[in-house]
C-alpha cells in the first residue's frame, strides 16, 4: 500500500500541474503588468489622434518601440458612433493597423496597397451600419474604406517607418495631419 501511494501522487501531481498550467495561461494576460491599451490610455482621451514622440531612452510609450519609426495612435471607442480616420499617406511604407485592447491586429492597410494617398477609413461596430457612408461622403464610395470592428474599443496605430534619418521631420509633419474622430452622417434627417 505504502509503495503504491507515491506513484498515485505523481499521476495526481501531473494532472494537477496540467490544470494549473491551463488556468495560468488563461489568467496571465489579465495579470499583465500593463498592456498596450493601458499604456496608451494614460496619454490622452479616446477618439483623438495622438502623435507619439520619437522613441528614445526612458521615453517609450510601449516597450521595444522602433526608434526609426514614427507613430501616431487613436484609441477608438465606438459606443456612441463609428469613427473616421483620415490621413495623407506620405509614402508607401506607412502602415495603418487596427487592434483590439488585447493587441490583436485585426486589420492593416499599407501605403503601398492604396490607390491614392488620401486615407479615409470608417470604423464601425458590428451593429452599426455605415452603408450610406460612401454615398454621403464627398468622395466616390470606392475611396472610403469601411471596416467592421470586432470590438467596441481598441486602438488604431499608424506607423511611418523612416526610409532614412533625413526623413524624420517629414514623417512627423505628415502624422500631424492625420485625424480621428466620431463619424457623423451629413444627412441625419431620417
Amino acid at each position: 500500500m505504502r509503495v503504491r501511494i507515491p506513484g498515485l501522487y505523481i499521476v495526481l501531481g501531473l494532472v494537477l500541474a496540467g490544470l494549473i498550467h491551463i488556468v495560468a495561461v488563461l489568467t496571465l494576460p489579465m495579470l499583465a503588468p500593463r498592456n498596450a491599451q493601458a499604456r496608451l490610455a494614460a496619454l490622452g482621451p479616446a477618439n483623438t489622434m495622438i502623435e507619439l514622440p520619437p522613441a528614445s531612452p526612458g521615453h517609450q510609450a510601449m516597450p521595444m518601440m522602433a526608434p526609426d519609426v514614427r507613430y501616431a495612435f487613436c484609441r477608438f471607442d465606438l459606443t456612441n458612433a463609428p469613427i473616421r480616420l483620415r490621413a495623407a499617406i506620405a509614402d508607401e511604407l506607412w502602415l495603418i493597423a487596427l487592434y483590439t485592447p488585447e493587441g490583436e491586429n485585426f486589420y492593416t492597410v499599407a501605403g503601398a496597397d492604396m490607390k491614392r494617398a488620401q486615407l479615409d477609413l470608417i470604423l464601425a461596430a458590428a451593429d452599426q451600419t455605415v452603408e450610406e457612408a460612401g454615398v454621403d461622403a464627398p468622395e466616390s464610395s470606392d475611396e472610403v474604406l469601411v471596416v467592421n470592428a470586432p470590438v467596441a474599443e481598441g486602438i488604431a496605430l499608424i506607423r511611418a517607418p523612416l526610409a532614412g534619418p533625413s526623413r524624420a521631420a517629414r514623417a512627423e509633419n505628415a502624422l500631424k495631419d492625420t485625424s480621428c474622430g466620431p463619424y457623423t452622417k451629413s444627412d441625419s434627417g431620417g
Binding site: 500541474a17 494549473i20 531612452p57 521595444m64 526608434p67 526609426d68 511604407l93 493587441g103 485585426f106 532614412g164
Partner: protein
C-alpha cells in the same frame, strides 16, 4: 526516487502538535503522511504548472515560435486567431505588434554561439539583404528599453546601412565607437536584446504568414570582451 523528492518538501508532520494519543498514533501517522504527500504534490504541481506556463508565454515553445540560431519569432504574433500562448505573450509584452501576415519580428538574447548578449562584449552582426519592403535591426536592454548613447543611434534600417558590393552588411555592436555600422550598446554593463523587424516580407507561406528564409537572418558573432 520521486517519493523521496516529495517527502523532502516541507512536511506538515513536523509542525503538527496533534500526535498525542499513543494508541491512535499509527493511524494518525498514516493519514498525516497522506496529507503531507498531498500538500507536497500540490506544491510541486503548482510550481510545474505556473513555471511551464510562464516559460511558454515569455520565451515561447516549438508550438508557438520558430528558432533559428539565436533568433526567435512568434509565428502567429498579433494574429486575431492566435493560440492562447501567443495571445498571452502579446498582452503581457505591452507591445502592439503587427500581425505576422504583415510583419515578422525576430528577437535574440544570445549570440550565435548561445552566449548571453551583453554590453561588456563586442559583436559582429553579419547579414545579407532581406526580401521585404522595409526592415530594421535595433538593440534594447533586457526590458525592451532603448540604450542611452552619445551618438543617438539605436538601430540600423535597410536604407541607412553601409553595405558591401554584394549587398551584405556588417553591424558592429559595442559600447565603444567602431568603424562601419556602429550600433552602440551603452556605457552601462547589462544584458542586451536585439530585435529585427521585417515589414511586409515579400514571401509568404500557405497561410499568409511572412516568410524569412533562415539563412537570411544575420549571424551574431562575439568578437571580444572587456
Amino acid at each position: 526516487m520521486d517519493a523521496d523528492r516529495l517527502t523532502a518538501l516541507p512536511n506538515p508532520l513536523l509542525l503538527s502538535p496533534s500526535h498525542s494519543t499513543p494508541w491512535r498514533e499509527e493511524q494518525a501517522t498514516h493519514s498525516m503522511r497522506s496529507l503531507a504527500y498531498f500538500i507536497g504534490t500540490f506544491v510541486v504541481a503548482l510550481m510545474l504548472g505556473i513555471g511551464s506556463a510562464w516559460y511558454m508565454i515569455e520565451r515561447g515553445s516549438p508550438l508557438t515560435t520558430t528558432k533559428v540560431g539565436p533568433w526567435a519569432s512568434w509565428i502567429s504574433e498579433g494574429n486575431p486567431n492566435a493560440d492562447p500562448y501567443t495571445e498571452a505573450h502579446v498582452a503581457r509584452s505591452g507591445r502592439l505588434p503587427l500581425s505576422s501576415t504583415v510583419a515578422r519580428y525576430f528577437t535574440a538574447r544570445t549570440d550565435s554561439a548561445g552566449h548571453t548578449l551583453t554590453s561588456a562584449c563586442q559583436y559582429s552582426i553579419v547579414g545579407s539583404p532581406l526580401n521585404a519592403r522595409w526592415w530594421s535591426l535595433a538593440v534594447y536592454d533586457e526590458n525592451g528599453g532603448l540604450i542611452e548613447n552619445p551618438s543617438g543611434r539605436y538601430s540600423f534600417n535597410d536604407e541607412e546601412l553601409l553595405r558591401h558590393a554584394d549587398g551584405s552588411f556588417r553591424i558592429n555592436l559595442s559600447s565603444k565607437a567602431r568603424p562601419e555600422n556602429w550600433l552602440p550598446s551603452g556605457a552601462v554593463e547589462q544584458p542586451l536584446m536585439l530585435m529585427l523587424r521585417i515589414y511586409s516580407p515579400r514571401e509568404t507561406d500557405a497561410s499568409g504568414v511572412g516568410l524569412v528564409p533562415s539563412e537570411r537572418l544575420p549571424n551574431v558573432e562575439r568578437t571580444g570582451c572587456e
